[in-house]
C-alpha cells in the first residue's frame, strides 16, 4: 500500500510508516521519552530526506510531550520560572539551529551534517546508557545516587535569580546555556532533547528531581513546536501526509507503552533502549562510511 509523500517527493509503504509510528510511540510511552531521537534516524534510514525527517521528528516530539506536560503541570511539578529561562534560551537556540540548517542546505551538506550529529550524539548517549545498565545488571548494585553540591565556579557567575519551586538561587547563565544548546540540537536533529536536558538540569544546575521532569517537558513542548513551525516556514519541509501517518501510529503505540511501562521496570528494558540507540547510531555510521553502489549519478544540481 504505497502512498506518495508530497513534500518528501517519494512513495513509501503506508503500513511501514504506521509501523514506525507505532514502534516509536510504544517506546516513548514505555520510557516517557519524546521519541524524536529514534524517529528521525529511522526515517533517514528508510530514505526520507533529512530535512523532512527532522521536521517530522520535531512534530512527533511535540505530540508526545504535550500530554506529559499537562499531567506534570497539574501536580505542580513544573518550575515556571526555570521553565521560562530554559525556554527563552531554547527558542533562541532553535532559531540559530534553523539558520544553521538553512546554511547547510545551501551548501548541500544537510544530510551529511544531520547524520554526523546523530552518529556522535546517539553513539555517546547509547554507549553511556548501555554502560550504566550493564554495570547495574552485572553487580546488582544499587547505583549510588551521586549529586555534587559543592560550590563550583558555576556559583560565582553574576545575574543570580531565585527559582523558588526548585529551591535554587543560581545565576541565569548556566540554565540559559543549557537551554540554548538543547535548542540547537532540537532544530538540527528534530529531537526534544529531554534525554540530555534532564541529566543536565540535575547534575549541572542542581535541580531537585521533583521539578526536573515537568520543567524539561515544558521546555521541550514549546521548543519543538517552534522548530516545527520554523522548519515549515523556512525550509518548507513538514510533510503533512507523513506526519499524519506517523502520529496515527504513535498515539496508538504510546497507549500500549504507557500501560506496559507501569508493570515493566528495570535494567533489562533500559539496556535494550541503550542497545537500540547504539545500533541506530552504528547503522548511520555504516551508511556514511560504506562505498555507495553507484559512485556518480547524473542530475540537475540542487
Amino acid at each position: 500500500m504505497s502512498v506518495y509523500l508530497p513534500i518528501a517527493e517519494m512513495s513509501v509503504d503506508a503500513l511501514l510508516l504506521l509501523g514506525i509510528g507505532l514502534g516509536v510511540g510504544w517506546l516513548s510511552g514505555l520510557f516517557g521519552v519524546g521519541g524524536g531521537f529514534l524517529l528521525t534516524p529511522l526515517l533517514i534510514l528508510i530514505g526520507i530526506p533529512a530535512p523532512v525527517a527532522v521536521a517530522s521528528g520535531a512534530n512527533q516530539t511535540l505530540g508526545a510531550s504535550v500530554s506529559g506536560l499537562i499531567a506534570q503541570w497539574r501536580r505542580g511539578n513544573v518550575d515556571p520560572r526555570m521553565g521560562v529561562v530554559l525556554l527563552v534560551a531554547g527558542l533562541a537556540g532553535s532559531f540559530a539551529g534553523t539558520q544553521l540548517f538553512v546554511l547547510l542546505r545551501r551548501l548541500g551538506q544537510v544530510d551529511l551534517a544531520v547524520s554526523l550529529f546523530y552518529v556522535v550524539v546517539l553513539g555517546t548517549v547509547g554507549a553511556l546508557m548501555v554502560r550504566e545498565s550493564l554495570r547495574a545488571i552485572l553487580r546488582r548494585r544499587r547505583l549510588a545516587p551521586a549529586r555534587t553540591h559543592q560550590h563550583s565556579w558555576l556559583h560565582g557567575l553574576p545575574f543570580k535569580m531565585r527559582f523558588r519551586r526548585s529551591r535554587l538561587y543560581i545565576s541565569v547563565i548556566p540554565p540559559a546555556l543549557v537551554g540554548f544548546g538543547i535548542g540547537i540540537l532540537s532544530a538540527v536533529m528534530g529531537v526534544g532533547g529531554g534525554f540530555m536536558l534532564v541529566p543536565a538540569m540535575i547534575y549541572v544546575l542542581g535541580m531537585p528531581t521533583t521539578t526536573t521532569i515537568g520543567t524539561s517537558l515544558f521546555q521541550v513542548t514549546f521548543v519543538s513546536a517552534n522548530v516545527t513551525l520554523l522548519q515549515a516556514l523556512q525550509t518548507g519541509s513538514v510533510d503533512i501526509v507523513l506526519t499524519l501517518l506517523l502520529l496515527a501510529g504513535g498515539v496508538a503505540g504510546a497507549q500500549f507503552g504507557a500501560a506496559m511501562g507501569t508493570r515493566l521496570r528495570g535494567e533489562e528494558t533500559r539496556a535494550l533502549l541503550g542497545l537500540l540507540v547504539l545500533s541506530v547510531a552504528l547503522r548511520l555510521l555504516w551508511d556514511l562510511l560504506e562505498t555507495p553502489g553507484s559512485l556518480y549519478f547524473l542530475g540537475t544540481a540542487t
Binding site: 514505555l30 520510557f31 547505583l143 541529566p199 540535575i202 528531581t209
Partner: protein, 154 residues
Amino acid sequence: MPQDRVFLVVVDDSPEKAVALRYACLRVRKSGGRVALLRITEPPEMQEWAGIAALMQEERRQEAEQLLSALAAEVEEMTGALPLQLIREGDPVEEVLEVLAEDPRISILVLATATEGGPGPLTTALTGRHAGALRCPITLVPGGMTDAELDRVT
C-alpha cells in the same frame, strides 16, 4: 491499658489527614496507645537513565522522612510519645493493606473523609472493594470536624 493499641494514620497530601491525625492523637492522649504514621511515596517513573531514577527514589524518601519527623514532633507534643514511622513505596491502597497484614501491632486504621466530592480515593477503596481484605477495624473521621468537635467525641 493494653500496650500495643496502635492507631495507624496514613499521611498523604490531603488537607483532611490533619483531622485524622488529631483524632488519633486525642484518642491516645485520653485512653492510651500509640500513633503510627505511614507515608507512601510514589515509585519513580520509567527513566532512560538509571542513575536519575535512583536519585528520584532517594529524594522522595528523604522528603518523606522530613515530613514524618516534622509530624512526629507534633504527635509527641500532644501524646507525650514519639509515633512509629513507616515509609513504603508503591500504590497507596496496596501498601496500606500490606502494612496491616505485616505489622501485627496495628489495631485501628484511622482515615478522614474528604468534605466534598466523595470520601477520597483511599477511603473509597478500603471501605468498598478491599473492605474484606482488612485485618483490623477502620475508624472514619469526617474531614470537616473542628478541633472542639474532635475533642468532644474522643
